[in-house]
Amino acid sequence: MTQHKLSEALDECLTRIRKGEPVRNCLAEYPHLQKELVPLLHTAVSIEAAPKVSPSDKFRRVSRSRLLARLLEEPARKAELYEETTIFDRLGVIGRIFEIAPVQLLKVAVPLVLALMIFSAGLSYFGLNSIISPSAEQESYCTLATLSGSVQWQGEGSNDWEMAEDGMALEEGSWVRTATNSQAVLTFSNGSAVKLDPSTVLMVEQIEYGSNDQSPVIVMNQWLGRTSSSVEKLADHKTHYEIQTPSATAVVCGTIFNTEVDEIGATTVQTIEGLVSVGAQGEEVYVAAGKQTSVTPGAPPSIPVVSGLTEGAAPVIIEVVSEQPPAEATIIEPEPDVEATEPQVVAEQDLSADEGAVVTEDEAAAEDGIALSWQGEYNQWLILAVLGSILFSFGMIMIFRRKT
């Protein structure tokens, strides 16, 4: 008898036992190995039957928030986010394949590549995520995780600040404030998260996760300090994510942005990914990725300008400094599945991707629901596609000439 035969017999028995077969049935097939197999099987079954450890409930609650906060601060990853395969990379690969393939294939392949490009653009436009994301009912919760220092909270109707417990659940009406050297992160059950920098005061005004036919709604009041938000949506729902400040309202869908409020009540909103609508005094601007807008109390939002954020900067920053009550909320219903793109509510408005645009609430409401496909990131994407096609065609012609 070799070790090899015994190990095979043991493995066969283990597989069958795992499928529910009695031990004796397996042993019956290996009468000459029973003496060796019995104690080994007994040991294996004992290990499998031992109680399994699991992470504690507290760790489970807190760790996801903490992890997301850590991921948002990963400079390496941030840089990588913008290093996705470009159309030029793809064309390069295709070009190399064509170089070694028969020239006749070009007649078939060129239209095929163009068709694929149009198809992938279509998929991006209509939201690939909506096709592949799992659909699930959301459990409603908002969890607070302390990243550093001391964080206090106040329940609705209470006048006393208490030390926040890491991993605690927050309900609507709860206040959170961070000390000068403290950071915290709130995570919502739909995957969205907001990080509070030091000296920030925030109130959770509304959290509603619905059943299958309802859209999640998250509304917060940021009175002071700086927050970074990462907003995620379910594939089959539009998420309304809104931060109200004393001077403005930022409405987001599927994006990452920063909000900052200074001591005079001014608000700065910086967008790192996607698009954020910032409203104040009845006017609204759309802040595209890499741009920021400022709002001083009593004034409309400024035209968005380049934010100058470096790689690895926090995603969405809102900064507020004021004791005035928040401005009236301007609620926009973003269309679903527009992750990291412009909401369709801005359709057909004269919105420049580079400069942003100021539109009134009435104009926005009147145009609600009309798609706009030639703006912002899509505009850039399509320009890249056209340029890529031209370069690709030029490259193919050169290759063809060299071969002939």
């Binding site: 070790q3 090899h4 015994l6 190990s7 095979e8 043991l10 493995d11 283990l14 597989t15 104690p39 080994l40 007994h42 040991t43 294996a44 004992s46 290990i47 499998e48 031992a50 109680p51 399994k52 450890v53 699991s54 992470p55 504690s56 760790f59 489970r60 760790s63 996801r64 903490r66 992890l67 997301l68 850590r70 991921l71 948002l72 990963e74 390496a76 990853r77 990588e80 986010l81 996705e84 995520n129 592949i132 994301s133 799992p134 699930a136 459990e139 995957g191 969205s192 990462s230 995620e232 992750e339």
Partner: protein, 201 residues
């Protein structure tokens, strides 16, 4: 408990559950694709799905609750940093995650020169408190003996009998053929049997 791409146990088991949600293999693969494209939310979902498995794998090797929690979290941060390398290999995401866990754990333990103490088992959160009382003593002895197995044998025992993987998956993680895994499994069980028998005598 099933890994993505487990053909042996079939479609009925090729689903994972996290926080009450059940994910099919195609859904987890889609999540990996999205995460590899930079979607943090998708990665958060993957974290929820595989948290228990990775935590368990780490815990049984370090046997310290706090250390296991720290290492588990670090594993996912490391995974996120290099998630782009998963593109085109989505079905082997879990194996890849285990490899990160193993390497990170070994490095951490080496760096901290951690001394394993069986006393730390007191802090284990058992899934069933009743079961905990009945089996704690026996379990502690078994766990202690697993700890002192040679590294390869220990890894096979944990992956096979605690996380529930099959030989093919274990082979992928350890970079060995299934035949080698079978032999390691037999040697590990033999060592444990001798050790447990000897202790009882």
């Amino acid at each position: 408990m099933v890994a993505v791409g487990n053909k042996v146990r079939g479609e009925t088991k090729a689903r994972v559950t996290a926080a009450g949600k059940t994910y099919s293999q195609s859904e987890t693969v889609a999540l990996v694709e999205k995460a590899a494209g930079g979607n943090i939310s998708a990665f958060g979902e993957l974290y929820s799905i595989y948290l228990d498995q990775i935590y368990r794998y780490v815990y049984y090797q370090v046997k310290d609750k706090m250390a296991a929690e720290d290492i588990t979290e670090d594993v996912f941060v490391k995974a996120w940093k290099s998630i782009k390398s998963c593109k085109g290999k989505e079905t082997t995401f879990l194996s890849w995650l285990y490899r990160i866990a193993h390497n990170h754990m070994i490095n951490t333990l080496r760096r901290e020169n951690r001394m394993v103490s069986i006393e730390k088992i007191q802090s284990v959160d058992f899934t069933d408190p009743k079961e905990e009382i009945e089996t704690k003593a026996e379990y502690k002895e078994l766990l202690e003996n697993i700890t002192y197995l040679p590294e390869n044998q220990k890894q096979v025992v944990i992956l096979k009998f605690i996380t529930g993987m099959d030989n093919r998956e274990i082979g992928n993680i350890m970079g060995k053929k299934e035949g080698a895994i079978r032999v390691l499994q037999m040697r590990a069980l033999n060592t444990l049997r001798e050790k447990l028998g000897g202790d009882r005598k």
